[in-house]
Amino acid sequence: MKSICFESYGVKVQLESSSQVILQTAFQTAQRALLGQTAEIDRCIPDGIFRFELDGDGDCTLIQNEEVMTTASPDRKFWRFFDGLVRILVADFTKPFVFIHAGAIGWRGKAFLFPANSFNGKTTLVYEMLKLGAVYYSDEYAVLDADGLVHPFARPLSVRTRIGEIREIDVDPNSLSAEIGKIPIPVGVVLFTKFEESAVWSPNYLSPGVGAVRLIEFAISVKRNTEFVLSVLNRAVSNAYILESPRSEAKDFAAFFLEFIDNSTFLTKMMLNK
């Protein structure tokens, strides 16, 4: 059995397989999934172990910490699934950071977060905002440090197309001429939203405490690292405006929301003073 151990965001991950080809593919997948934040290490006491077992039919069984996660042909979908698992493992076990399941952009030097579970339009909303000049931080995870600042996790956007068969395609933010975030920035706005037919913009402003509680739903490591997560969320929301409202189609809403922010007196004050 061959293995590779690497560290990412403070999390040690071990990959094992008797197939060198599978092992290398797994490591390359993990490197892409974690945006190259993967330092190979010689020996480790891993936080998570992924084992890949090939059978005689060419199928591969993916086992995470002795739990069978799938048995399938090691094709694009298989590796995409593993891509998601390794990111969740790192998000769950990391101690220096808090991964929030949220889209994140930079606007006027502050981070705007759009927390939401999958299939709720985070990527589409971020995509439309990038086209309007927002800075790309992530379409999947807002990565917060101990001071509550948002770091970029700028992977290719996984945009779902609805032309014919629904497919997920990777969009390089560079192809949108979008600026990619390079430095950690404070949170300016947290918007809890989802698309609704005939949605009317009707923002409900939440207190920092209620906003932090709502964010807990999307904080991947809240059960494993509770005290740290709460302190980070406290810092993150302390100077942020937190709103919730349904929204219209992403393309229209993105333009509307950025204009709303720029025209709002108190929000402008927030940008200047906080």
Binding site: M69, T70, T71, A72, R76, K77, F78, R80, F81, G84, L85, I88, L89, A91, D92, H101, N117, S118, F119, R160, E165, I166, R167, E168, S207, P208, G209, V210, A212, V213, R214, I216, E217, F218, I220, S221, V222, K223, T226, E227, L230, S231, L233, N234, S238
Partner: protein, 162 residues
């Protein structure tokens, strides 16, 4: 209601984070998160087993025991107190009490906002499902088209879950 009761704030199994005007509490036993507004937080912190409802009302409720009982009611309901305290608003519903207090009081109504944390980090996984039909469409990029008992589109074939 017995205003001579001495409520005790629960301490064990809770992670507490103080904010400027609110308190965050995470219950490790139930995996629930709570945000106590200032009034609710003040009452909770003062529940030391030696301070009666009547005294709490004098200190935090402007003498209004209904306001304190509103806080105690919510704290008890959310397992933030040791034991259960009996509270009834003499035939009035909570809504009626809030209305009554709201009109009479300058002190903020105690409010606790609560949320259950997701079951596991895998709740963030995009291949989640409840049945096989959800393993196509938006889940087209998941390993299989069969929903496993753990709620992911990764089963090798149709499964029957317990």
């Amino acid at each position: 209601m017995n205003s001579s009761q001495f409520p005790i704030a629960r301490k064990s199994g809770l992670v507490v984070q103080e904010m400027p005007d609110e308190v965050l509490v995470y219950d490790l036993d139930s995996d629930k998160a709570h945000c106590l507004n200032q009034t609710a937080a003040n009452v909770w912190k003062a529940c030391d087993g030696n301070t009666s409802i009547a005294e709490l009302a004098r200190t935090f409720g402007g003498g209004n025991e209904d306001l304190i009982w509103l806080a105690i009611d919510q704290l008890s309901e959310n397992d933030l107190l040791e034991g259960k305290l009996s509270s009834s608003f003499k035939g009035q519903s909570r809504r009626e009490v809030i209305k009554k207090i709201g009109l009479a009081s300058m002190i903020a109504i105690p409010v606790i906002a609560s949320l259950a944390a997701p079951q596991s980090a895998l709740a963030a996984q995009s291949c989640r499902c409840q049945n096989n039909s959800q393993c196509s469409g938006p889940n087209i990029n998941c390993p299989t088209t069969f929903c496993s008992c753990s709620g992911l589109c990764n089963a090798p074939g149709p499964v029957v879950c317990p």
